[in-house]
Amino acid sequence: MKEKLVLIGNGMAGMRTVEELLKIDPQQYDITVFGAEPCGNYNRIMLSPVLAGEKTIDQIMLNDEAWYREHNITLHKGREVLDIDRARRLVKAEGGIEVGYDRLILATGSRPFMIPLPGGDLDGVIGFRDIQDVDRMLAAAGKPGGRAIVIGGGLLGLEAANGLLSQGMQVSVVHLLDRLMERQLDETAAGLLKFSLERRGLQFLMEAQTEAILGQQQVEAVRFTDGTEIPADLVVMAVGIRPNVELAARIGLHCERGVVVSDTLQTYDPRIYAVGECVQHRDQTYGLVAPLFEQARVCANHLARHGIARYEGSLTSTKLKVTGIDLFSAGDFNGDEQTEELLLQDSSRGIYRKVVLRDNRIQGAVMYGDTIDGTWYFELMRDGTDVSAFRENLLFGQAHLGDSGHGDDNRVAAMADSAEICGCNGICKGEIVRAITDKKLFTLEEVRAHTKASSSCGSCTGLVETLLAHTLGGDYSATPNRKPLCGCSEYTHDEIRAAILKQALKSMSAVQRFLEWKTSDGCPKCRTALNYYLLCAWPGEYQDDNQSRFINERVHANIQKDGSYSVVPRMWGGETTPAELRAIAEIAEKYRVPTVHVTGGQRIDLLGVKKDDLPGIWGDLSRAGFVSGHAYGKAVRTVKTCVGKDWCRFGTQDSTQMGIDLEKMIWGSWTPHKFKLAVSGCPRNCAEATIKDFGVVAVDSGWELHVGGNGGVKVRATDFLCAVKTEEDVKEYCAAFLQLYREHAHYLERTAPWIERVGLSWVKQRIVEDDENRRALVERFLYSQQFSQVDPWKARAEGLDHHEYTPIKQLG
């Protein structure tokens, strides 16, 4: 028999938990849901647009009753749960319904706090929480000449006020303090907000305290402590919410402000879970959906007995859902002695931005007028990114980082529906917005799965996130800080790498066992990463797992769209000889290679080779002295060079020989992502060294070393690492930098994003400032090179992995 799961509270957090559970384990439980409201569950945060007449109730339903039937869930709608008998494990609801449970989820949300005022029980005094409240507000607005008073100038109050205003009421907002949304906004932003709301016709009574609500049966006016009275037909109280813990407290669960839960969302009774606004976790309560969804995921994971996920609290950001007003706030934006403030204010354009930094990391941000970079700041804040490298441009936003992938396209809101967002998959804005609304998507991962947008090169990730934010309003907040490597485990890249070393895990299955992998043998994402991490951690010991490499690396050639392959032999430092060229020409003719192309990396690419011909062509190349160019791998790629001092009248050093020496030292090494180099003979920099992972520029006095550059999707110029004197120095620093990157970057992270994540100073400390550490890095690198400088092509031409290149059987 299946176990019985009962959910109390048919709202956003509770149902999200059920949906997450159905996703990972649809079979485990018989599920029963109780909801006090008379319908299926809906997107509560969209009540504001409904009130403003921008959406209808139908449009905000998340799951209708047919959905519950389809998923075999018993829904008792309009039935409040009155009691729970924990000893007999029985839930008792209105109408005499009793249901037994093995596990129970409390998701009772919260209630609007109603200030206990004389007259507070009059008709027309309401909160703003559910469909019923919206109905009552719309009814009041239906009468011509109606006047409304909203008590509370926070997020919810302003959304209510704006909605009532658009419904034609005359609206006054009463606020106790002198600043609107004081918990989210600083003084300047709050002032700007007030100004534009006033221009729309809202009235404000600041620093006003309500004394009584007047009327007979129906509200007629509100009186303040200074004696003034204002007539009103409707009073909306939006002064805050209180976690709804009544039921939990009554049945003896430990409650403080909310129902107290552990990191697995269990209450003091381990059979009873609690999620959502009713919960208090590590002393925090939350009133936004993003953290609640995160709780839902962890809770579902535990219910499904995966049991390894932990909820560790969330960072939240806020947006106001008032059409035409852009406002964003996150983190601590007030600052103190240890923080620095970056400010941008352009009063005539109505733009204000404040970013608060501590040790060059974002600690909080407030934006008004143009919030397009809100998600970006939030991400930087969440990831604790060191922003020193682009600090001077931080306030101008992501579009100003020389970011060719995003550029002005960032003006998402103004874009036409037909505008292409994802260039790789040809997905335009309209398609994405439709998927978000029709399929009820909330996260980047969901949009990727459903539309493919941003699932390829990822350069449009920012755009898609912005679209999500715009489409969902305040509902969206970027994915949580802790990103597991993939869906197969709960652990992050760093945690996994640390465990491999600390526990001396030396095989893929050992890692998967120790870290409790959820799948039988992983997925392409984690297997490729693990294979690299193990290879890097245990050179010479770990046996490379070919089946955990993508096709290109498995067969040592790039697959093409027609299933044929390309072959790029190494051409040391981009230099060649007539003999080599002759050999390549003969081989190309012998195998009827359809295309011979000079690559962007100074080498020759033979394209369109049939798979069965690969070992043969490699054998011929090998005999002519060539080795694999690893153009297919997350590995050391090319070292571009210019002609240098041998020929060039400006050349200061022998850049070509330097490039050749570097390439001979590091070729064959596997790296987290591809690793490219260049050596230029003088600062004219013809080899484009300053957009390479490791770039060398010769100067009169020696060599300048640059790191973390990237061409490609998102161009980034290098950071200057240091200047050195001799060729030997260049090699030493290069090997040290490469090894540092190999040991610390996440799989599929190029040096550019890696350096932005860890910070240039972190890299310098380990390579430039610490001679001993640098030498130790070099030593580890050279040790591992013993095992990787084996030409994979030659080995395969001699028969290794024969099965990869031949059919098991040829018919007919």
């Binding site: 089946q547 059919p807 098991i808 018919l811």
Partner: protein
Amino acid sequence: MQQAEQATNAAGEWLDVGRLEDIPRQGARVVRRAEGDIAIFRTIDDQLFALRDRCPHKGGPLSQGMVHGLQVACPLHDWKIHLDSGQAVAPDAGCAARFPVRLDGERVLLSLLAEEGCPER
């Protein structure tokens, strides 16, 4: 599976294509034929599946993809295909034709009669 086996048995069309050990675990090998290649996959726990070697997306060679669990990831654009049904993993849609395959001792036997449900393309 059972039914399909009987049907092809009746037609007497099992073809011996090689030994189990010729196919790498978590890998695949191809049976080449004029009508188009067939990929035989071997999972980590030695289950065998055979699919037309053509991704329902843009025809990528599924045999070159990574086998994980009961799925293979297409090498070209990373669609995931269920090995047991040939269906693409949702939200992608499409399927690759399935062929009956079984083990007789160490020998791998394949039938060239595509199973119902997913047309050969």
